[in-house]
């Protein structure tokens, strides 16, 4: 039961801490307006290149953009704690690590999914894309899984945040990779073989594929395998991130690198 409380309470506090940092004047331009423009940008480039449909780009970019809130928030929660010198205090506490770290991930996942959902809705309205309303619940599931999966990757960047200073560069670079490799803007079939291999192990690839099928009217059961793969990727990244966090934490204790100098 204690683990559950740590999970819930820790998560809630992190949520408030997260939104304290992300004030409306940053949130609205960066997480509401920007993704819509990314969607518009690529939809029009698609038209200019004569490649794929508007719907293709709306779904792809709405989900891909969730990388920003998921990666940045996760990284900053650790980076922020390090900055505020509270990280040491947390890690000294006897609280079991798993619920501690994962509790902090929950608000990030929810926020990421929210951003993607709003972007998807805005994109379909502005571009007049036809997505059946019946697909909404299934899409919500896929979006949540996508956010979860990317937050898993975020745990790894969060771990790296314990050791490197310029985390913004790292997360922006990852964002760029996700833009190219996940099929958000280029159909996977048009990518060379080696790139497709990389796509297969990154977050978002399967979720985007699933979402596109759902938008075309497929049923939830028909995309369960894709959702499953996305979940698996998320779990692998999450646990990798968890172990990395523990590793750096131990290292940090040994070499006193946990406080920002």
């Amino acid at each position: 039961m204690t683990s559950l409380r740590i999970f819930a309470v820790g998560g809630l506090i992190s949520f408030r801490a997260l939104f304290h940092w992300l004030s409306p004047s940053i949130y609205i331009p960066s997480l509401i307006v920007a993704p819509l423009f990314q969607i518009l940008l690529f939809a029009y480039i698609g038209r200019s290149a004569g490649l794929a449909s508007d719907e293709f780009y709306v779904v792809g970019n709405a989900i891909q953009y969730a990388a920003i809130p998921c990666l940045f928030a996760m990284t900053n929660i650790v980076g922020g704690e390090k900055f505020q010198q509270t990280l040491g205090a947390i890690l000294v506490s006897p609280a079991p690590r798993l619920p501690l770290f994962f509790g902090r991930a929950v608000p990030v996942v929810v926020n990421g999914a929210f951003v993607a959902a709003v972007a998807l809705l805005a994109g379909t309205i502005v571009l007049g894309v036809d997505i059946p309303a019946s697909a909404a619940p299934s899409l919500a599931v896929v979006i949540l899984v996508a956010a979860f999966s990317c937050t898993g990757l975020g745990l790894i960047t969060a771990a790296l945040a314990l050791r490197i200073r310029e985390t913004a560069v790292l997360t922006n670079v990852l964002f760029g990779f996700l833009l190219i490799f996940t099929g958000a803007n280029i159909p996977l079939d048009d990518l060379p073989g080696w790139m497709q291999n990389v796509s297969d192990v990154l977050p978002f690839t399967h979720a985007i594929a699933a979402a596109r099928e759902l938008a075309d009217g497929a049923s939830l059961t028909s995309v369960l395998d894709l959702i499953g793969e996305e979940l698996l990727i998320g779990l692998v990244f999450a646990f990798l991130g968890y172990w990395l966090l523990r590793f750096f934490e131990l290292q940090g204790r040994r070499h006193s690198t946990l406080d920002r100098s």
Binding site: S25, A34, S48, G50, L51
Partner: protein, 256 residues
């Protein structure tokens, strides 16, 4: 003339300082390359075989704009964090002569972005570069850098009241890419967007650069680009007066 010398010296030292910052320097060049890659792959896979050079040029100017938009809005904030804003305001020259070199230095980083993108396209995607009017190509780049600097100046003075000025600056990255017609011919955009595109110096800078490479009449485009830059500068100077006076009243020039 003293003014030109002041601008040149200011630009030189500010540019030197920017280049020595890893985040502001190297990263500014690398980040747009991701978008360039997407653009190249999209155009290569698409059915409308506009020349890939069109895509390369568009992506290159996207990089140029990135270098300015993501940094210029926060120019005054940056100086305040360094503690140098007061020193700059307290010096004799009109503040516009001090701020313009700063935003010009930021937009000059865009040249690195442009070159990096063109080379990237050449060596990784085999996109050959042709220059129908080579001299005008160079002039167009210079003109674009100048007008981007002027637009950055306008951003810097307009957004200075916002604590998250940088977030607002970032907000203008995508829209200008889209509306400036870098990778999308303006005819594809809704009619009502067209006048907005025409009011943006980046649109004309892009045209000038594109036409000096692919063929066309770059000079009129370049002239309009510079004229718009001058307009932004004028508006910016007018706003600056009020901004600085307000800052001196509110004691907002330093962090303490």
């Amino acid at each position: 003339m003293r003014t030109l010398r002041l601008l040149a010296v200011g630009w030189y030292f500010q540019f030197k300082a920017i280049l020595r910052s890893p985040f502001e320097g190297l990263f500014q060049v690398i980040y747009p390359l991701f978008f360039a890659t997407v653009a190249f792959l999209m155009f290569r896979a698409g059915t409308d075989q506009k020349t890939l050079l069109y895509a390369s040029l568009g992506a290159a100017v996207m990089g140029m704009w990135s270098a300015t938009s993501t940094t210029a809005a926060g120019a005054m904030q940056r100086e305040r964090w360094h503690g140098t804003l007061e020193a700059l305001v307290a010096s004799p020259p009109h503040f516009s002569l001090i701020l313009l070199p700063i935003t010009l230095a930021m937009s000059t980083v865009g040249v690195y972005c442009l070159v990096a993108t063109l080379l990237f396209g050449r060596f990784l995607f085999g996109i050959d570069l042709t220059f129908e009017h080579p001299l005008l190509f160079v002039l167009s780049i210079v003109g674009t850098v100048i007008s981007f600097g002027a637009l950055g100046f306008l951003f810097a003075v307009t957004f200075v009241r916002f604590r998250a000025a940088w977030a607002l600056g970032n907000l203008f990255e995508y829209p200008v890419w889209l509306i400036g017609g870098f990778l999308v011919p303006l005819v594809l955009l809704p009619d009502w967007v067209r006048p907005i595109s025409w009011a943006l110096a980046p649109t004309w800078g892009m045209n000038a650069i594109r036409e000096s490479s692919l063929g066309g009449t770059p000079l009129p485009d370049l002239a309009i680009c510079l004229a718009l830059g001058a307009a932004y500068l004028t508006i910016g100077i007018l706003v600056l007066e009020r901004v600085l006076t307000a800052a001196r009243k509110r004691a907002a020039l330093s962090l303490t």
